[in-house]
């Protein structure tokens, strides 16, 4: 519940944080006017690819999402503690049974063209999300909505078919203006020119889009949450990572995300930049086909878990820029169970376990056998991901030490998914999952999700986990929910359907004149969560606006 005083408290706390940050940044004359925040300057970000739709209902790629996040607002948003707080909604209520959400909208919000934002816009956004002719990738999140009712222009009620906690998160989707689209539906909506020239409510106003070159935004002076300090935002498209790095060295971009080897480059590269490092909201895993005759047996999987040295993997694959994983949650999130102990690296114990399971090297050829058959399997992963290929090679070496022969097969992505993953036609795989802030992982671990093309492709089944996952989706009390997911974490870890390998680090750099970037759990979803509060001290402005005389 984000009532006003909490918000105020948050802002006060927030400002406190920024000022301490200033002091640390060797800014002795904090009080002098030259170091006060300027309403000026440009922030230049770079991206490998161009955006597709500047419409949050239609877009799913990261480039479009970066821009849409600046131009549009949702009803709710995540704060630094990964808690949902109001954005366009001032507050909300959820009925005891979890079936009715009532949102009270802010009344002072204007679209960038000056029109007032109302509940009609929310209803229109929802109608497009469930419109069967609209090419939205987000419709699944709204399948459980029974009805959306407008109570008055600033209040709306959403009725659900069943209680579903992540539903609240789904209202973080950018709300689009009904009057601009003139109520367009289906195909007309997909092709609407406003998808290229967005009008939103957000901190930044869309200015210009030069395809494959740049997208430019300007601060919204009337932004309801306060005028952003940084006057312009430029999104440059630089398709090659090496060239992007040269542009950084040349100081012509203000931020980029580094690869582990770039992070270790000569200090000259980072003369004016501050490097950040924290776990990315994603993990890489080795998944077993649990229907496979060898991997059906838990003892064998346990033996394998003890045969892998994750530290070596992190060191070799990520140059140390990552940490080993124990389960399906982000270490900085509230659902993470820090009491789960990782399997220790112990090849001896591993061999013992394998022997217990009946695997012995009787013919002395270095490979274990059972019933006359060698312990040999094929690990598959997709082409084009060097990190995964390298991981596979190191695992191959590590398993050889305990007498297991592992073959590696690298397959082109679509073939990999269509012919092997969807059809469960594999023995073991290396893949990764990106995590969203909400811990609901029903689609990946629930035993009902094993059909072709669904995501429990390792065929994991644990009735206790099933029950907890069902419970977790229905429990609105976060304290209880936390307990549920911590249990899930422990159970999934102990069952070893995957060997959770590592979380790669997220390694962004930001030009040092910007005050405000702060590492929080959510930063791995980008720095966007508080960009509208960043500023540059007046004496450090690099690209001053040309003031009209």
């Amino acid at each position: 519940m984000a009532s006003n005083w909490i918000r105020r408290l948050f802002i006060i706390l927030y400002t406190g944080v920024t000022f301490t940050a200033c002091k640390q940044n060797n800014n002795p004359q904090l009080q002098s006017s030259s170091s006060l925040p300027a309403y000026d300057d440009t922030f230049i970000e770079s991206s490998i690819g161009d955006a597709s739709y500047l419409n949050p209902v239609l877009a799913s790629d990261s480039a479009s999402s970066s821009i849409n996040g600046m131009v549009f607002n949702g009803l709710v948003k995540y704060n630094a503690q990964i808690q949902l707080v109001g954005d366009l909604a001032e507050k909300w209520e959820i009925s005891k049974d979890g079936l009715v959400f009532t949102f009270y909208l802010r009344k002072n919000v204007k679209w960038h063209d000056g029109q007032a934002f109302t509940a009609e816009d929310v209803l229109y956004t929802f109608e497009r999300l469930i419109d069967p002719e609209v090419k939205t990738p987000h419709s699944s999140s709204y399948e459980k909505v029974k009805k959306v009712e407008l109570l008055d222009p600033y209040t709306l009620r959403i009725l659900y078919k069943e209680p579903y906690v992540p539903a609240l998160e789904s209202w973080g989707i950018g709300i689009i203006p009904k009057h601009i689209f003139k109520g367009a539906k289906g195909k007309e909506f997909n092709e609407h020119p406003a998808n290229k020239k967005p009008i939103g409510t957000g901190p930044y106003i869309f200015k210009e889009w030069r395809v494959d070159e740049k997208i430019a935004l300007e601060a919204n002076p009337k932004y309801f949450d306060g005028r952003p300090h940084i006057a312009k935002y430029v999104f440059r498209i630089i398709p090659d990572n090496a060239v992007e790095f040269l542009e950084l060295r040349n100081k012509s971009i203000d931020t980029m995300v580094l690869t582990p080897d770039q992070y270790h480059a000569y200090p000259e590269f980072f003369e004016e930049y501050k490097k950040y490092r924290f776990p990315r909201a994603a993990y890489t895993y080795l998944g077993f086909n649990l229907n496979h005759p060898i991997f059906k047996e838990k003892l064998v999987r346990l033996a394998l878990a003890h045969a892998l040295q994750k530290k070596e993997l992190v060191q070799a694959v990520l140059l140390g820029m990552g940490q080993s994983a124990t389960g399906p949650f982000l270490p900085l999130s509230w659902s993470f169970n820090s009491e789960v102990k990782d399997f220790e690296y112990n090849p001896k114990l591993s061999k013992q376990m394998l022997q217990e399971a009946g695997w012995q090297d009787l013919n002395q050829d270095g490979i274990l056998e059972k019933d006359g058959k060698n312990f040999e399997f094929t690990l598959m992963t997709n082409q084009g991901n060097k990190m995964r290929a390298l991981t596979a090679e190191i695992i191959q070496e590590q398993l050889k030490k305990v007498g297991i022969k592992m073959n590696i097969r690298i397959v082109e992505w679509s073939t990999f998914i269509k012919n092997f993953i969807d059809k469960k036609n594999f023995e073991a795989i290396i893949l990764g999952w990106a995590l969203s802030p909400d811990p609901d992982i029903y689609n990946i671990w629930h035993s009902s999700q094993k059909k072709d093309g669904q995501y429990n492709f390792v065929s994991y089944q644990n009735l206790e986990v099933d029950a907890l996952l069902e419970e977790g989706r229905k429990t609105f009390d976060q304290q209880k929910r936390k307990e549920i997911y911590r249990k899930v974490h422990g159970l999934v870890h102990d069952d070893i359907p995957y060997i959770f390998l590592f979380y790669p680090d997220f390694l962004p750099v930001v030009q040092e004149r910007f005050v405000g970037p702060k590492v929080v759990a959510l930063s791995s979803f980008g720095f966007g969560w508080n960009f509208d509060k960043w500023f540059v001290p007046k004496n450090k402005v690099r690209y001053p606006l040309i003031t009209a005389q």
């Binding site: 440009t42 597709s52 419709s139 290229k196 430029v234 630089i238 040349n250 082109e412 269509k418």
Partner: protein, 323 residues
């Protein structure tokens, strides 16, 4: 000549049709669908939502029907809409065409001028130091990986000397500049990509010119020209050059589609907003309409280039006649 031209133009049509058919077929044989980028391993998408998307893109119908639909639209000069952003394919192509034409026109002009000069001089002074040096030079250019050379030059001119911008076509403050400053800005941005393209594309043409020139120089009429006391310059430029042109014209014809085709590697390295990147991204994301649009245009220009080359032969060599 006119009837020949007419006949040739008539054969263009079935050829073009065949090419588009094959392109479409090969595209369908490649694994994956345009919706995969959005739907694959997206745990937030249900099976139903995936199927809905597939249907919305018209991918649930058999491919011959999809091809037929595409042909019907093409007959009205409608290339369809991109799967990536629902914008007309023709707009997406036209948006990128000027930048690509500019880059390719500049570099091809440079390639032709340099290659012909080098080739002719090397032939005239066969075995001399100039011949050996240029041979080494063009082969070096031909063998060096483009992206590596581009990166080295970026580091040298962009970072170390600080003379040229590293990548892109325009500076970020382009709109605030006056016309002359704009031209200067673009020139600075174009210098590296044009030079790299020219340097690495020089070899074939220079060698062709050289060998064809050598062949011509061995002909009897050259000996006659020399015997009647003409200056060497006149022998080379007036008598030999025109006859050595034939293979170069063939290459010129083949290069016509390159004018609009664009190069993925150059455009990616130099963050240049052109056709190469559009095409490559269309392939990677299985954006069929864009792919077919570019494919058709390039195929058409290739055929046209061949025809044009044949016509030019007649101009260069009066002995060649078409009936």
């Amino acid at each position: 000549m006119a009837s020949y031209l007419f006949k040739r133009l008539l054969t263009l049509l079935p050829l073009l049709l065949g090419i588009t058919f094959l392109t479409f077929l090969i595209m369908q044989l490649a694994p994956g669908k345009p919706t995969d980028l959005i739907t694959d391993l997206n745990a937030k998408m249900s099976l139903e939502a995936k199927q809905k998307l597939t249907k919305l893109y018209g991918l649930d119908r058999p491919w011959p029907i999809q091809y037929w639909e595409w042909l019907k639209r093409l007959s009205k000069f409608d290339f369809g809409k991109s799967f990536k952003d629902d914008r007309p394919v023709i707009h997406k192509i036209l948006e990128r065409l000027p930048a690509t034409l500019l880059l390719n026109f500049l570099s091809l002009s440079l390639i032709f001028t340099l290659a012909i000069l080098i080739g002719m001089t090397a032939a005239a002074k066969k075995g001399a130091l100039f011949d050996k040096l240029t041979t080494l030079f063009v082969y070096l250019g031909f063998s060096i990986p483009t992206f590596w050379l581009a990166l080295l030059l970026m580091i040298l001119f962009g970072l170390k000397i600080g003379l040229l911008p590293i990548s892109g076509l325009r500076s970020l403050n382009f709109e605030e500049l006056n016309f002359l400053q704009k031209a200067w800005d673009m020139l600075q941005h174009l210098l590296l990509p044009v030079s790299v393209m020219a340097l690495t594309g020089l070899a074939a043409l220079a060698r062709y010119t050289r060998s064809s020139m050598l062949e011509v120089l061995h002909q009897d009429y050259i000996r006659t020209a020399r015997a009647k006391g003409l200056k060497e310059r006149e022998v080379i430029f007036k008598h030999a050059f025109k006859n050595a042109l034939i293979p170069i014209i063939t290459l010129l014809g083949l290069m016509l589609p390159e004018l609009i085709g664009g190069s993925f590697i150059f455009e990616t390295i130099f963050a240049y907003p052109g056709m190469g990147r559009l095409g490559f991204e269309a392939i990677m994301s299985r954006d069929y309409p864009v792919l077919m649009g570019i494919g058709t245009m390039v195929a058409f220009l290739t055929l046209l280039g061949n025809l044009l080359a044949d016509m030019l032969y007649a101009l260069a060599d009066p002995r060649i006649r078409y009936k």
